[in-house]
């Protein structure tokens, strides 16, 4: 057998692609919780009556009552149905905020980092400003003029959420723009748009992904907190924060109306945080392996 044949006989070298979640307990756990919560969301939608369905005769049914696994609230609405709707609402708001704020933040951050000068100055002062004003004041004031709806809520939260992206992307861009490949591209006469979109954008995408996944948890808390205060999502849409506020007065009488949606919310936030953390670890590990 020739040497060539031996090489053929050896196991083929596979590309350096690792199974994405291998050894990633955090990430897997987070995804598992998220999927489980989404399964609850799907099941609730499919198998349960609408969360709006009232049954005044059956108010404050305890968990485990026939037809109401997690009990009912003071209008006899099914808590589980509300939770499963609440999961979708929470995720929808989180998705909306993350998409809007990351797109805006990345665009601004890239420009500020790459062009520097006045744009950069303005951005950084804006960041300072946003940190100096408690965002709740903005929300409270906005609530006085705007009609609360999911869209306004998403826009409001996005209005204070895009700055971290801008800041992060700016700092990464500042580093990247001095890297060889960018300088080469610049010398080769590539247009600014091309450098920004073709070279810098990919290089910031991983950090943005990590930040976005970590931000989801905060957005979930904001959404529920504002809904709790009556400034966020309200019927006909079903937010976990809203039902907690509704159940608050009868906490003693019917703990499940507060405790169970709160626990569901905590689980969602936990899942988001686990996934974010796992993603960050994954990316960091890549970086470490590459350096070793």
């Amino acid at each position: 057998m020739t040497a060539h044949a031996v090489r053929e006989a050896l196991p083929a070298r596979r590309a350096r692609v690792r199974l994405p979640f291998k050894g990633q307990t955090t990430l897997r756990l987070g995804l598992a919780i998220l999927l489980a919560m989404m399964a609850v969301g799907v099941l609730g939608r499919v198998a349960l009556p609408s969360a709006d369905q009232q049954d005044l005769a059956n108010a404050f049914a305890a968990p485990g009552s026939p037809g109401h696994l997690l009990g009912t609230d003071q209008l006899g609405r099914d808590v589980l149905a509300w939770i499963s709707d609440g999961i979708w609402i929470a995720l929808a708001v989180a998705l909306g905020v993350v998409v809007i704020s990351s797109v805006v933040g990345v665009a601004v951050g890239l420009c500020a980092g790459y062009f520097g000068g006045v744009a950069d100055m303005l951005l950084m002062r804006l960041v300072d400003l946003s940190l100096a004003i408690p965002p709740l004041i903005l929300f409270l004031a906005a609530a006085a003029v705007l009609r609360t709806s999911i869209v306004t809520l998403i826009l409001l939260i996005s209005a204070v959420s895009w700055l971290p992206y801008a800041r992060l992307v700016r700092s990464v861009t500042l580093l990247e723009r001095e890297r060889g490949y960018v300088i080469t591209a610049r010398l080769a006469g590539a247009s600014r748009t091309r450098i920004l979109v073709g070279h810098l954008l990919p290089s910031v995408s991983t950090v943005v992904l990590v930040l976005a996944s970590l931000q989801v948890g905060y957005v979930l808390l904001w959404e529920s907190g504002l809904s709790f205060l009556g400034l966020g999502v309200r019927p006909p849409h079903h937010s976990l924060g809203y039902i907690i506020a509704q159940g608050r007065d009868s906490l003693q009488q019917a703990w499940w109306v507060v405790v169970l949606p709160g626990a569901a919310l905590a689980l969602l936030v936990l899942a988001a945080n686990l996934i974010g953390d796992g993603l960050r670890d994954l990316i960091q590990q890549d970086v470490e392996v590459a350096e070793r």
Binding site: S130, I133, P134, A144, G262
Partner: protein, 309 residues
């Protein structure tokens, strides 16, 4: 850049931040409405309301009012609350200490737990201890603050009758609100400090310290903590505005006589002078804290203090 010029520049920036905060919040609150919406408990006719609006000057263009307001502020006049007639600044300064006490307690509580946890977690990084500490922190971070506050009231105040749930009568009143604010702060602090520490201990000069024969404990607690303190404090100082946002809801639940309650009340009643004064104070506090952080870091870091070779 030498230190004095650097600080001078930061102060100028800070003044602009405060002015910016004044302008932005003025525009937002004025957009939201003005006292004539709530004066008279709704018993006024539109003509009477318009008359009040006119007398208060709310029929002038918003930019003119803004100009007057800023001029007033520069002369130390923050206006007065239309509800109680008291000086807006006075109201804010009366509420401020209570909130500071609360935040200080919450922060102390959080740091007392967070610093050892972060140090230990970094010392034992990637071990079971570290992982379980991180898992616990992640769990705590997932709990909504209003939910914590409600459960605390239910468990500690109502069922056990152990702690006062409202107002600020005795140091014991502090316990629950400080817990409700402090608890969610712990994971944040641990995360920030742990990240700052990990960032430091992964640096080459820490390896140099190890190569000098120093123990890991010494390195983390004496050297790494010193390097991590700057970024950590900066990150924490940057959260002041957000922190106050979190205290509003807790202050309301516990009827804590602080800035949070004041602000919530002022916003619902369109008490613009009070909102403005509060925003100015918060923004100034933010700027000062960050400035202090910068100064501290500058004093610590020879690269800024001494300048380049």
């Amino acid at each position: 850049m030498n230190l004095v010029r650097y600080l001078g520049w930061r102060i100028v920036q800070g003044i602009f931040v405060v002015l910016g905060a004044v302008v932005v919040s003025f525009l937002i609150t004025n957009l939201a409405g003005n006292p004539s919406d709530v004066i008279g408990g709704g018993l006024l006719t539109p003509a009477q309301r318009a008359q009040i609006g006119h007398q208060l000057g709310y029929d002038r263009p918003v930019l003119v009012r803004l100009g007057d307001y800023v001029t007033g502020v520069l002369h130390g006049d923050f206006g007065s609350s239309w509800r109680t007639g008291q000086s807006a600044l006075g109201l804010v300064l009366k509420a401020l200490p209570n909130t500071l006490i609360l935040i200080a307690c919450a922060m102390t509580l959080a740091l007392l737990l967070a610093v050892p946890i972060a140090l230990y977690s970094v010392l034992r990084r990637e071990t079971r201890v570290d992982r379980s500490a991180r898992a616990t922190m992640m769990l705590v971070a997932a709990l909504p603050d209003f939910w914590i506050a409600l459960l605390l009231v239910l468990l500690l105040s109502v069922n056990l009758g152990a702690l006062p749930s409202i107002g600020f009568d005795s140091p014991r009143s502090l316990i629950m609100p400080a817990l409700a604010i402090g608890l969610p702060l712990i994971p944040t602090s641990v995360r920030l400090l742990r990240a700052a520490l990990l960032d430091v201990v992964s640096q080459d000069f820490i390896t140099t310290l190890r190569a000098k024969g120093l123990g890991e404990g010494t390195i983390v607690t004496r050297y790494a903590l010193k390097h991590a303190a700057g970024p950590f404090v900066t990150l924490l100082a940057m959260q002041v505005g957000w922190l106050l946002g979190g205290t509003i809801i807790v202050e309301v639940i516990f009827a804590w006589p602080g800035m949070g309650s004041l602000l919530q009340d002022a916003v619902t009643n369109h008490d613009i002078a009070v909102i403005q004064a509060a925003v100015v104070i918060v923004a100034t506090g933010y700027v000062l804290l960050n400035l202090a952080g910068d100064v501290l870091i500058a004093l610590m870091d020879p690269r800024i203090r001494v300048g380049a070779r």
